[in-house]
Symmetry: D2
Subunit: 377 residues, 4 copies
């Protein structure tokens, strides 16, 4: 049941069956767990340790989300990342302060690179413990060092050191996690786990500039329709934002040949027609490589512009001749539209695209190879 | 052979047997390797990867230091840390940029916590590559993110992006590594590995304020000699600065009962008399726990004041009644002397200490237990 | 009327005569003005300008504090600084964002250097205006630039962008302003001036470590009593913390000859005996210079250790032979006690000091010169 | 005489008439002064004070640039700013550390807002003085505070604490000052003024992406030529980059009606035809206001998008219908080209623009008013 309170932009969820005067108060840990569940998280992965023990206790006692404990933090990070990716929703990794969280740095940076909506929750020394004379093992130079480190590899951060602000802070970082499909960091002092806390509000999504999106979509369509050899390369963001069906429809409508990026291999595997293959540059199928590298209008849709995806090309794709739609921005020829959310762009493309005859589709002869399915990340 | 050039505080090493006109020029990687060797490093541990391949090539071709390659960065970090600790000198870990270095964060934070002189060398994108349009996998938000992260867990950093400044920068961070016995970070862009480079100068050590050190030593001695039950607890810094023999002599001279901290277990094992045991608080041998916790002048010499060493105590030691000598500072009662290097303090204590009869030594009856040797870190 | 609410460490003031159901709600600007008045501010100085007009409107309509407008920001800063210094309480300068606040940088840095409790209040763009496309004139590189600049010259900062947190934030920075006697910075977005706001709580002062203060006082007394030629130099902090009477009593009790620092000239002018003069090094009265520079126990009480006060000395005072009590820390010989508030130290010195015969006082023959009064800062 | 040395991208100036073996070595202050003169500075304005006295001595003894001393730092800043603006070259302000430089903050922020190429040179404590125990009056919290403050209001900074790197550092910041037409900050420790120093090299300008510039110019032309009522508003950058003649030619070629922004009043005053007037929104001449606000292709050329220029409009210009060319970027409709230097854009517009008959020019009837000349900034 959802109740909207008329407090400006905030809409509150109410959890449980009873609302009104008998409504049971929740604590900060429960508010966080409900907020995760409401936004699609299916479970938490983690390793109990000193500073996060109280949060694990609440997690297990409340039963709000299933808890899976592992024995190695990198595994926690990669498991949470994968779980989120497979279900196209938040993945949650819960670790202790210091040695726990610092051992998650590499997996978090990986999630940033792969645009994966990973929520890192780290226990922390209690706000009442922060004045003592003893250092904490693995704390870095100061108690803020861990936060500073995660600033470099996550797109939003919150330290929940004030139960009154915690609901808005949680809402802010989780919303950002979903909108940007990138990891976020939440630090929870262990002595506030049981502090009374209001439910986490649902924030309105960041407003979209519809005029900009439509102008952008029109220019993209114009470039595709006027090209001799347009090609669509799909990348991981298509899956992150759950756009596979729409993108497949768009490709059909425009009779665009489709390939996937290396990191996007497996995408649209169930579409009709399915992608011609995966672009691997000099290391890949020559027909695919040639198709991509000679295209005069290569639409890189949600393709991460990293060395992993594109550096293997021997001739190197001239990015100037491509249309790059990623990370809420679209760049084509010499200019840039921003911010343009991927879903809004795809919707506008579908709304404005004409239906073309399939005869436009190039005759790419790909040797019959069984593409291995189910590997997508 | 060493040649001193009259350039202020810099003394240069010359490597090889021929100096003068035939002197072979070295490149930046060689200058770094010689500087490590000159300061005691015995080998490098690492994993070759994209951005560090040129440095590995020079490392192997030059034969300046043996190269040990492993398959997992945390192992590289812990191996280098251990090698440095066992030989009381620099340990060297060499990794690639991004996924390599970020996977070393936890081991580096551990070295910081344990006061271990670990040198982290990370390859990096070439200075000529930093303007491209492609991201690097695992790079964090920006190319500087990795440096920012290591700022939080090392005591000095250098990016060797200017071959002319590189010798002084290398000297600065390696000297700091030794003086503070804490990890440092060096980033080497891959296109400068072969740049011509002058040898790394030897910097004069940071000057010691002898008057302060002697005043401090006198006050420490005064506290020990006027106490009813003085105790000496030795910690890892005693080994880091290679002071075991001197500290054992000091304990004999003052007839001080000696215990080790948890992290310092194994220290002074070959001294006569050897330590009475290891302080583990409520979890340890009651006679040791009692000795430590009832002391009216507990000298914590090189003992890291962390939860690992001291938090296990049930009664908790009152730090006000202790003398804490660590990290180039000495705190006793309500005041602090800084900076006081540990070796200078021990030397001054030895110079000023009277010789006391062993009768002062308390009768601590410790059940005979074979202490496991060889575990020291 | 004041009411204390039992919410942990927070005690609330209630302003006005009616409490209970009819209690008039206050807005954010009023809450700030009452908080300033409650802590001793006597007026505000300022220049109305775009972003601070709403705050000026409330200031004038509410009549909580008199408002004095001037025509040049540096004059605002120096007037507020002087008003605070003369009455030994908060001085308040109110300016607009950008050109207003940036023109106050020098006066604020001066207040920092002179330990003056100046409260800088800057209007700011509304939180609802911060997304627009137009730059603001004189804004610096970003909207946060002004805050960053004031971080370098104030000891605490608050941006009041959340009316719920504002009371605690205001309390925090004003308390810090008083405890450290240094300037603070408050930024108030213009669209929140009228937001409803709870009264500002009174925070408990930072706890004092009485044991440390007494140990410190004993060591200071010991040094003074065992010296052949102890001297007391008083500086501006003695006035900032309103300690002139206590310090004069201490000087009498210990028969200490008293001089003032350059910046502290005029201090204790009404005491009996009044100071012998002002230390000006080579530029000053030779008898005073000699007295100070040959003292074997020079107590620098609240004397700022800057070039203004001490660099004029030809022989330069050897700080090692002095006792420096400033900025909540005391350094003597080779060690440091911190934190030690000046008032707590003076109280402890008075409590422990014996009464000495005036015969100890040195025979300093100072040529009779009328000291100009009323210049104190 | 200029000599180009074949060291990659660096071209050196040689100053004086004699080169070769007799060439007189210069010191750091002279190298800086020659570099300023070579880049067009006509004089230095300043106030001598402690930390900048050695630089003033060299400035006056060397006679490289005339020295004008004033008595108030804000005046120094505004004078240097104005001198640079009037002659379209670098303006130079020289002040002492602390109270001097901090009193220049507002004038520097003004230069940033107005795109004025102001070079702030601040003396600083010597590198050999930075370890002492005395604070410096007005220094901010640390010796680096002043640099941090100027980072927020200048586009490049250099601390000349290494005479070997100084030439490249000076070249870097002065080139940036010219390319961005924004203030820069140079800090010169007083004990390095006389250090031997190589001449400052001339750096190649940042390369321009000609393809991008031409694509951008074509789109701008397309928008202007297809509009019913195109208008050109010129702003201060046109003068900063000395483009008045070219812009006047462009306006003639395209028969564009020309107005100036408020901050650009006086621009193109000698062109034929001269501007119709200055846009002041609701406060200005109604015919001009109407012309601007009803334009369907308003080209804002070098117009700063600040509240000063545009906020006075009652109807507010819809920036979406404008073409904004400023700060090395061009935004039109919903997208952005960057980086596009203004001069390169104007050149490309002139190269591609057709010549249109003057009949296109709108019949704007402006009441005859003598426009006040000579006020340009």
């Amino acid at each position: 049941m959802r109740r909207s309170q008329n407090r400006g932009k905030l809409h509150f969820f109410v959890h449980g069956r009873q609302s009104g005067p008998k409504e049971k108060k929740m604590n900060l840990a429960e508010a966080l767990l409900y907020a995760l569940r409401d936004r699609g998280a299916g479970e938490i992965f983690g390793i109990p340790g000193d500073f996060v023990l109280p949060f694990f206790r609440v997690s297990e006692d409340s039963g709000i989300l299933p808890v899976y404990t592992l024995s190695h933090e990198p595994a926690v990070g990669f498991a949470a990342d994968a779980a989120g990716q497979v279900r196209t929703t938040l993945g949650v990794a819960v670790v202790t302060y210091g040695a726990g969280a610092l051992n998650l740095v590499n997996a978090t940076a990986c999630a940033l690179a792969e645009k994966s909506p990973l929520v890192v929750i780290s226990g922390a020394p209690g706000v009442g413990e922060r004045v003592g004379e003893l250092l904490l093992h693995h704390q870095g130079k100061t108690l803020e060092s861990q936060l500073q480190i995660f600033r470099e590899i996550t797109c939003a951060q919150a330290v929940l050191d004030d139960p009154e602000r915690a609901p808005v802070e949680i809402a802010r970082v989780l919303e950002r996690c979903r909108e940007w499909s990138q990891p976020v960091y939440i630090e929870l002092p262990r002595d506030l786990v049981d502090a009374p806390c209001a439910p986490v509000p649902r924030l309105d999504p960041t407003p979209v500039d519809r005029e900009m999106v439509e102008a952008c979509a029109d220019e993209v369509l114009d470039a595709l329709l006027n090209a001799d050899a347009p090609v669509l390369m799909v990348g991981v963001e298509v899956r992150r934002y759950n756009l596979e069906a729409k993108v497949a429809a768009l490709a059909r409508r425009l009779s665009l040949p489709v390939v996937t990026s290396f990191m996007g291999r497996g995408l649209l595997a169930d579409a009709d027609p399915s992608p011609l293959g995966t672009y691997l540059g000099a290391a890949g199928e020559p027909a695919i490589t040639d198709l991509v590298e000679t295209s005069d209008a290569l639409l890189l849709l949600g393709v991460i512009l990293s060395d992993s995806n594109l550096a293997a090309s021997s001739r190197r794709i001239d990015l100037r001749r491509t249309i790059q739609a990623l990370n809420r921005r679209v760049t084509l020829r010499y200019h840039t539209y921003a911010p343009v959310p991927l879903e809004a762009l795809v919707d506008a493309l579908l709304a404005h695209a004409p239906t073309l005859a399939p005869s436009r589709r190039p005759k790419v002869v790909i040797p019959t190879v069984e593409y291995p399915r189910g590997l997508l990340r």
